[in-house]
Symmetry: C2
Subunit: 96 residues, 2 copies
């Protein structure tokens, strides 16, 4: 299934910026970055549980937000894109 | 249907920051902000076409990115959230 992962990590502190880098690196292990804070991940149920647990361990639940959208297996006609295509360096901490 | 709209607007220029504000304001007319650059919108086919057209007119397609994920009508079990709940001011230009 295709799972869209979106996140807001509060980067007002150094600890927050570290969490942001960790979240991004974790997501890269499971899918493709399509926007700065949006990943598209092809997951089975096991991997879906894994990444949720991993991200939950990283974030500060009082400051950060994670959302997961499960588009299922037939997602081809459910995704549309307009504009520039992504070209991201996951180690980049700059948020635009 | 529930449509997730995510965007990256390049805010390196004043024009970009203006586009970002316009995109956010447009999205607010159609749905609920759940993260800084993520909106969830309850749309029929007509409104879905409208917002796509409106946003396409605002963004710079060489610099900005829009993505639309259509979760259909039965989306209740397809959305998961972890962490802090959103509380956004759409007029706020700060991107965290």
């Amino acid at each position: 299934m295709l799972v869209i992962i979106t996140y807001d990590v509060n980067t007002q502190t150094a600890a927050g910026r570290k969490r942001l880098r960790k979240v991004a690196k974790q997501c890269v292990n499971y899918g493709q970055r399509v926007q700065n804070s949006v990943f598209e991940c092809q997951l089975d149920a096991t991997k879906y549980r894994q990444i949720k647990a991993n991200l939950e361990d990283i974030i500060d639940k009082e400051a950060d937000s994670l959302r997961f959208y499960n588009l299922g297996d037939k997602y081809k006609n459910k995704v549309e894109h307009i504009g520039v295509k992504p070209s991201f360096d996951v180690t980049d901490t700059l948020i635009i």
